[in-house]
């Protein structure tokens, strides 16, 4: 029993990270019908931004809650700016062309960021400093939760709450919902759609950066290609939950994380070796899409942001 709980904690920890990244995919898709393939790399940029803030401002040497918050917020701000820049200079100029053009641009952008980082910062993995002391708490029996895992849960929940608030309780959120509902009508109603789209990119990128910094606290190895697999799984999570649907992205992320961990933990008993953890994420996607093509929570009626 305690092993099962432990595995669930492990799974939900990585699931929360997937959920944070999936939110960015789903919001951009909801508004532009664009799959922003560079989003996984923004997650990586977030981790690198955090790394440089933490090392340059000396937080690495004396860990403190203050240092951690500055690092997290700083990384989120830098990534938000990058997300807006990418939208402004790469996606906006091609927005009026076909969907395929934008999609290819997104793939190009992803490769550009990855190899630019390899070029500038070298491909050697870096070790992210521990910004808060790690402690382990025993829940019951053998089941433990480390402070870094706890932090991932708390901060992800907090950020998702903030996102929910922005979308449903603020003016800009209302504008986002309007744009996602119908971009042309929104424009006719006097909504500055370019601003709303830029804001959406900023929001999604900030969440991905938070995911990057949080992951780096849990698993301190960062490298320029770390965003590929994680980004792909987050994308799967977004599609699984119903792309364009915000609660769906969170649900999808948690499901993928938990499934992955349980496959490693218990797959052996039913003949699935632990190496298939990645394959499982994608197998689940295929099955879900066969049964409900719109994803778990996705439907044509629901508002998409």
């Amino acid at each position: 029993m305690d092993t099962f709980v432990q595995q669930l904690i492990n799974g939900l920890t990585i699931g929360s990270i997937y959920a944070l990244i999936a939110l960015g995919y789903t919001m951009v898709y909801g508004i532009l019908r664009l799959i922003n393939f560079a989003h996984g790399d923004i997650y990586m940029v977030g981790a690198y931004a955090g790394f440089f803030i933490a090392t340059s401002m000396g937080f690495a040497a004396n860990p403190s809650a203050f240092g951690f918050v500055v690092t997290l917020v700083g990384a989120m701000a830098i990534s938000a700016a990058l997300g807006m820049a990418i939208e402004r200079f790469a996606y906006r100029p091609v927005r009026k062309f076909s969907k395929m053009t934008t999609l290819i641009t997104a793939i190009g952008m992803s490769l550009l960021i990855e190899y630019l980082f390899i070029f500038i910062f070298s491909p050697t993995p870096r070790s992210f400093p521990q910004l808060l002391p790690v402690e382990n708490f025993t829940l019951f029996g053998n089941a433990t939760i480390s402070s870094s895992q706890l932090m991932i849960f708390v901060i992800s929940l907090l950020l998702m709450g903030v996102l929910q608030f922005i979308i449903y309780k603020t003016k800009i959120g209302k504008a986002m919902r309007a744009v996602s509902f119908n971009i042309t009508s929104a424009k006719l109603m006097g909504i500055n759609t370019n601003f709303v789209i830029a804001f959406t990119f900023a929001l999604g990128s900030a969440l991905a950066a938070a995911g990057g910094v949080l992951t780096a606290q849990y698993n301190p190895k960062i490298d320029p290609l770390m965003g590929i697999m994680t980004g792909l799984k987050a994308f799967v999570a977004a599609v699984l939950g119903g792309i364009g649907n915000i609660p769906g992205a969170v649900l999808g992320g948690l499901l993928i994380g938990a499934a992955e961990t349980l496959v490693v933990g218990y797959g052996g008993y039913i003949g699935i070796p632990s190496t298939y953890r990645d394959a499982i994420a994608f197998a689940i996607l295929i099955v879900v899409l066969l049964v409900t093509p719109a994803g778990l929570l996705g439907s044509n009626v629901q508002e998409k942001v």
Binding site: T3, Q7, T13, I14, A90, T124, Y218, N219
Partner: protein
């Protein structure tokens, strides 16, 4: 529209400027007839980049020393380096380039067995000798007679750790966490288990991960329940550091065991204090006071600013083996050169005396090192000799070595050991 093209041209110009910079960096100077061109390939930018950097440095040091002493047969050795980026596909591409375009007379590399396995058939087909300094998977040299190595092989390395676990640590049960994407790791897992079972132990659980995985707690949680005495992790440093950290976070304080794939300065940054109570098998110990080893450590450190790891030492030895073979072959005719390399016998290297057996593998003792994260350093623990070494003379040798680290692998000892052992080790390979 104009803006779009403006952006596009900007992007293109950025790309092309990179291309220029990179060409400038790696482009070999045109060789004259007075040099012997040797191809070297390794991973200097991928997941195991510290391996490639050490290898390149070790060979550069050896070539410098050889050239300073007048070169080989009056000609200077010239290194042409290509980056394999740690991927088997890329390794195959760069070795083709070295052989077909750069017309090298021999190739030194790769470190990771999967990459060497991908590249070796190219060298074999082109009949260009390839010496891998540090690929330990047995299959590498089975590719053909042009492929050889200067390190020991996994059946031995895996058994060394099994022996250490069973005899020194008195472990009865072990868990194995292997890297499913590497031939190196699979080989070590298999041979560790074989030997450990033979010594009366049980491997109670085997789990795997993939390179670049971020989370290992799922596998570790499963292991924790079974309470193994030791955990064997035959992987590369990038993942091992994180695994150690996550294992300790889950309250698993068992000794962690590994192989030469852990040997990298990066390991300390990733694993930190979690690497306490861990041991690896390795090719040589920089602590060894033998003068030839200390001279090597001194000149390497002076040139590159870091202490040499075992991969640098093996690379240095592979260059010495090649130079020696070219001298004996009287030139660079590829068939003669291959024969000369394969006939290498008793060549004194920093990783011990090098003699190639019938399968072109070097047979050498291994050292067990203990990790001391406080000083970011591997400390010598004991020397373990190849099997079949139970002959009286060698038992004495291994005892002496175990008792007084100072004596590890003096040349006389290891030569005797190697020769005596050639036959039985050959059997293990098959």
């Amino acid at each position: 529209m104009t803006r779009f093209f403006l952006t596009l041209s900007l992007v293109i110009s950025i790309f092309s400027s990179f291309a220029c910079v990179q060409k400038g960096g790696t482009g070999p100077a045109a060789s004259t007839g007075d040099t012997i061109r040797v191809g070297v390939y390794g991973d200097t930018t991928g997941a195991t980049s510290s391996f490639g950097v050490s290898t390149k440095n070790g060979i550069a040091l050896a070539f410098d020393e050889i050239n300073a002493a007048g070169g080989v047969n009056g000609k200077k050795l010239e290194m042409l380096f290509e980056d394999s980026q740690g991927s088997p596909e890329k390794a195959k591409t760069v070795i083709s380039k070295l052989i077909n375009q750069d017309k090298v007379v021999a190739v030194l590399g790769e470190v990771a067995s999967s990459n060497s396995l991908a590249a070796a058939p190219v060298a074999q087909e082109a009949k260009i000798p390839m010496i891998t300094p540090s690929s330990t998977n047995p299959k590498v040299t089975e590719v053909g007679d042009y492929i050889s190595r200067v390190c020991f092989i996994d059946p031995f390395q895996g058994s060394v750790m099994a022996k250490f676990a069973a005899n020194t640590l008195k472990a009865k049960t072990a868990a194995v966490l292997g890297d499913n994407s590497s031939d190196y790791s699979k080989g070590l897992t298999q041979f560790f288990e074989q030997e450990f079972v033979k010594l009366g132990g049980t491997v109670i659980t085997k789990q795997t991960y993939n390179q670049k995985d971020q989370d290992f707690k799922a596998q570790l949680t499963q292991m924790r329940d079974q309470k193994p005495d030791v955990i064997y992790i035959p992987g590369y440093y990038g993942e091992v550091g994180i695994i150690a950290r996550q294992a300790r976070e889950l309250g698993m304080n068992q000794p962690l065991l590994g192989g030469d794939g852990w040997d990298s300065p990066e390991l300390w940054k990733l694993g930190g204090e979690a690497l306490k109570n861990a041991y690896i098998s390795n090719h040589y110990s920089a602590d060894n006071p033998a003068p030839e080893i200390q001279n090597f450590v001194k000149s390497y450190t002076a040139k590159f600013g870091v202490a040499p790891d075992s991969l640098a030492a093996l690379a240095y030895d592979s260059a010495k083996v090649l130079a020696d073979a070219i001298k004996r072959a009287g030139g660079t005719d590829s068939a003669k050169l291959k024969d000369a390399i394969n006939a290498t016998k008793g060549l004194a290297g920093v990783t011990g005396s090098i003699t190639l057996d019938a399968n072109r593998n070097a047979v050498k003792p291994a050292v067990v090192l203990e990790l001391t994260p406080a000083q970011s350093k591997f400390t010598f623990k004991e020397t373990i000799y190849p099997e079949g070494m139970s002959a009286p003379a060698t038992t004495a040798a291994s005892n002496t070595a175990a008792n007084t680290p100072a004596n590890t692998a003096t040349n006389a000892n290891s030569t005797a050991v190697t020769n005596a052992n050639t036959a039985p080790a050959t059997n293990t390979t098959k």
